[in-house]
């Protein structure tokens, strides 16, 4: 039974290899398809989610820009409202320093009163300038040296044009002679006087504070000529907005833009000043990477799951098929009665052994059951089949796993043995030992109801290379030797002898 399993196992391994290859091919193919599919889906997902993320951030930047523009407008409006307080004292807007009708002391006292009024108004805020200038360039109030130097003492002449709002007669300006350090607000007080106030440009920063989650974000204020009026990077103030940003913005005043390089949001408020928030797309890299990593991780896990399922599926599908094929294969190659190879398979195996022989000798033993016809005739075919089945059992028990055993037809059997060149047993001794042992095993074999019918075998032996170079020639040589054994009285064996066509062998014991 063990031997049968071994023969079957030897036969199975070939088939398993084939099926293994098939399974692997199916799984590999499936895995490849899944991987390509997952990669394609991941690519699309990453692309779409990154675009969606960029759009969301773009919208947030846009919201921020709108809010900051509102902050800035509110800040400027508050200043405008605050400056109207100058009109709370009648003297402030009725006094005219160009009117020479007042005596010097009265003029001085009036101006002192105006000055005190202005000081009391502006003390709570960081004004750089807070004064009234008259058409003769005489000033009353807080008049900074920086402003004095900038306008060369001619501020009325230079600033009056900025009070251009037809209703409120006021206006904002900065950048006079390229100086953007201060932002000025001017308002006409009377036909010969202007109120001039100024703040440092850096004061605007309070309008642009944000959570700071994107430290790379830049917030700038530009005028209608795209000159930067405010930026946290002071060196930029007074310069033109960089060309690549202008190209992306393309003259639009209230919009947000998502390009490969930047997320930009621009909002236009008072004075036609633009609040521009820019965020380099690279700033989103970390978040985008996280999205990509999450997508790839899911894809990899999905691929692993799919492959695992495919392995299980293929196993589930191929195992029964493999069993059927193996069963069929077994039926096709194994003689059902004896459990050893049938003639066709035996021939193939012999041919393979011959082809793969590297050293040693191959010995071909052909034998048949003596008086087998008598068994059939006297005991019936059922006994005959039992005898044949027992021959198979004896052979499987007698020979090694590496020996090839076959039933060539009827009661004719064959064995192919290998004698290694390293073996210390001489060839003829080896043949003699094996054949004698086999004869001996059959000599003790009885069959029939009462075990009353004795069985023996006769064997013919040929050696590969000496008596034949293939199955047919080895068979023929062995068959002639078998004939010799039969002639010699059966229950013996004969080795083929080429020269005289006879054979030599062992004697009956």
């Amino acid at each position: 039974m063990e031997k049968e399993k071994r023969v079957l196992k030897a036969t199975k391994s070939e088939e398993e290899k084939k099926f293994g290859r098939l399974k692997r091919s199916i799984i590999m193919g499936y895995a490849l398809i899944v991987m390509i599919g997952a990669a394609a889906i991941s690519f699309v997902c990453i692309h779409l989610s990154q675009k969606a993320f960029q759009k969301e951030v773009g919208d947030l930047v846009s919201e921020l820009s709108i809010q900051m523009s509102i902050n800035l407008d509110s800040y400027l409006e508050n200043m405008e409202n605050f400056n109207t307080l100058v009109f709370s004292e009648k003297t402030n807007y009725t006094y005219d320093a160009t009117n020479n009708n007042l005596d010097e002391y009265t003029a001085l006292e009036t101006e002192k009163a105006i000055k005190n009024s202005l000081y009391s108004l502006c003390i709570m805020d960081n004004y750089v300038d807070y004064f009234i200038v008259y058409s003769n360039e005489h000033t009353v109030g807080k008049y900074s040296n920086g402003t004095r130097d900038l306008f060369g003492g001619k501020i009325y002449e230079n600033a009056k044009e900025y009070a251009s709002n037809p209703r409120t007669q006021d206006g904002w300006f900065t950048g006079f002679q390229g100086d953007y350090k201060r932002i000025y607000y001017v308002k006409r007080v009377n036909e010969n006087a202007l109120l001039v106030t100024s703040i440092y440009t850096s004061e605007l920063s309070s309008n642009f504070e944000h959570a700071g989650n994107f430290p790379e974000m830049k917030i700038r204020v530009t005028d209608s000529d795209d000159t930067i009026l405010y930026s946290a990077t002071k060196e930029e103030i007074g310069t033109k907005l960089q060309a690549d940003l202008l190209t992306i913005m393309d003259g639009k005043e209230n919009a947000n833009f998502i390009s490969d390089e930047y997320l930009i949001a621009v909002t236009t408020g008072m004075n036609d000043w633009h609040v521009i928030c820019t965020l380099p797309s690279s700033a989103l890299g970390k978040e985008m990477q996280r999205i990509a990593m999450a997508t790839i991780t899911i894809a990899i896990l999905a691929v692993v799951v799919c492959i695992l399922f495919s392995v299980l599926f293929v196993m589930k599908m191929t195992n029964p098929m493999q069993n059927i094929v193996e069963d069929l294969d077994k039926k096709a190659s194994i003689d059902a009665l004896t459990g050893i190879y049938n003639k066709k398979t035996f021939e193939e195996k012999v041919a393979k052994r011959i082809a793969s022989l590297q050293d040693g000798k191959l010995i071909f033993i052909l034998f048949d059951v003596d008086n087998f016809k008598g068994v059939n005739d006297n005991l019936g075919h059922a006994y005959g089949d039992k005898v044949l089945s027992d021959v198979g059992k004896i052979m499987r028990a007698k020979f090694r796993e590496k020996d090839v055993l076959g039933r060539l037809g009827g009661d004719e059997f064959a064995v192919l043995l290998h004698l290694s060149s390293f073996s210390e047993i001489p060839l003829e001794e080896f043949i003699n030992e094996r054949c004698s042992a086999l004869c001996s095993d059959f000599r003790n074999y009885y069959t029939g109801d009462q075990k009353d019918y004795k069985i023996s075998i006769s064997m013919g032996v040929s050696i590969y290379g000496e008596h034949g170079a293939d199955f047919d020639s080895l068979y023929k040589s062995a068959d002639r030797a078998l004939y010799g054994a039969k002639q010699a009285g059966k229950d013996t064996y004969r080795l083929y002898k080429r020269n005289d066509g006879s054979a030599e062998g062992g004697a009956k014991s």
Binding site: M124, N126, V128, N145, A211, A294
Partner: protein, 426 residues
């Protein structure tokens, strides 16, 4: 059956792993906002001071990104009114530039400002001598730390003096003599309102040999002494020694219209900047005296101080800023000599190493140190702004003949007494 269960289990655990890996599990995503401690800082000063102080604040915020500094500034005029409002409404800044006089004014019991001594672990007090620390002590509490020592000093345009073949004045009479020798469109001196006040007070103190206001805020001058102050002003304006207070324009120093000026050491640099730009040489000269008289009437004081608001909610951060303003390399470089020669040894070391201990301010500082034994520490009440405003009004009233000298002096004596009583908190 068991195998199927195992497969389902494996698939579920894979899905859970995937969800947790990509953060899809049901959990709240928290993104912390950058939280900063906001403290406020206020100062007065000119544009130069505003600009470098803002620059220094930027540097401080870079060093301490966890702290944001909101700042408030204005010129000297109006700053005290604002300070009055802030102190009275308990909304004063966490860190304040204060005047020497304010310690007694706002903190008579020593509790009007935060006791900086309690924050010594954040402020390197070893940069100051005991005497310097004592300038800020009030009733056992360290209310403020001084930035530099200051005094009113004379500066003259050497180029014009050479041109007009004049010598620098040494006595009060010299001022009038020089005025008579220069063109009619020029003045010997130009100075802002407060310096006119200091000048007139110094003259009267020397002439009458008595102190104007005592250290504890008592008026020592009588109406006659005040008459001398008013009279000196009117004579000086009439003689073109100086323009009327309301006509003073700083730019006239640079234009050479004023041959000199009286200013705090801390202001000397900014006052002379335009003149130097225009090719003039400005030098610090001697303090004026009555011919042969003693050098009285000229005072030194800590040139502004830094204090911490008594109501501050962030004393640690306020102390860190205060330390930065007084002792840091960054602030020392930004500030230079604008507030005078710093008292902080670490700031002084930085300026020395940077070769910044030079120029008109350093010259004036050396002049002050030359007379170190003769120049007394100023009474904290001497600079009370309402005294100055009252004097200014009286000067105009007398000059324009609205009031007589005697009338105005008598009224001023009463007014000064009242103001000082109020300032002392009586």
């Amino acid at each position: 059956m068991m195998r199927r269960k195992r497969m389902i289990g494996a698939a579920l655990s894979l899905a859970v792993s995937a969800m947790s890996l990509c953060g899809c599990a049901d959990k709240t995503i928290v993104n912390e906002q950058q939280k900063q401690t906001t403290i406020s800082f206020s100062w007065w000063g000119n544009e130069e001071r505003n600009e470098y102080t803002m620059e220094a604040i930027d540097a401080f915020e870079r060093l301490h990104p966890e702290i944001k500094v909101d700042y408030y500034f204005t010129e000297w005029s109006g700053y005290q009114t604002r300070n009055d409002i802030k102190m009275a409404s308990n909304t004063e800044s966490d860190v304040m530039q204060i005047n020497y006089a304010w310690i007694t004014q706002y903190s008579p019991t020593g509790e009007g400002y935060y006791d900086i001594g309690e924050l010594a672990e954040y402020i390197d007090l070893s940069n100051f001598t005991e005497k310097e620390i004592n300038y800020g002590m009030q009733k056992g509490h360290l209310n403020a730390l001084p930035i530099a020592l200051n005094t009113e000093t004379f500066y003259f345009n050497e180029t014009l003096f050479e041109e007009y073949q004049l010598s620098f004045p040494k006595t009060w009479d010299d001022l009038f003599a020089i005025a008579s020798k220069i063109p009619e469109d020029k003045f010997v001196l130009g100075m802002p309102q407060k310096s006119v006040w200091m000048l007139c007070a110094a003259y009267a103190e020397q002439k009458n040999g008595k102190q104007f206001i005592s250290a504890d805020g008592e008026l020592k001058f009588n109406a006659k002494d005040i008459e001398d102050m008013l009279d000196f002003y009117c004579r000086a304006v009439d003689a073109r020694v100086m323009p009327g207070m309301d006509y003073y324009e700083k730019s006239n120093i640079g234009k050479g219209i004023y041959l000199g000026y009286l200013a705090w050491i801390s202001d000397a640099g900014s006052y002379s900047a335009d003149a130097v730009k225009n090719g003039y040489t400005i030098v610090a000269t001697d303090y004026l005296t009555v011919d042969g008289g003693a050098l009285t009437g000229w005072y030194a004081k800590p040139a502004t101080m830094y204090a911490i608001g008594k109501n501050t909610e962030h004393p640690k951060e306020a102390a860190m800023l205060l330390d930065f303003l007084l002792n840091s390399e960054e602030m020392a470089k930004c500030q230079g000599l604008e507030k005078g020669i710093p008292l902080s040894t670490s700031a002084l070391t930085v300026l020395s190493e940077e070769g910044m201990l030079e120029g008109i301010q350093y010259e004036a500082y050396e002049k002050m140190m030359e007379y170190d034994q003769e120049i007394a520490i100023m009474s904290p009440y001497h600079e009370t702004q309402s005294l100055i405003d009252a004097f200014s009004d009286a000067c105009n009233a007398v000059y324009y003949d609205v009031k007589t000298l005697e009338e105005a002096a008598k009224e001023l004596e009463t007014e000064f007494t009242k103001i000082l009583r109020e300032t002392r908190g009586e």
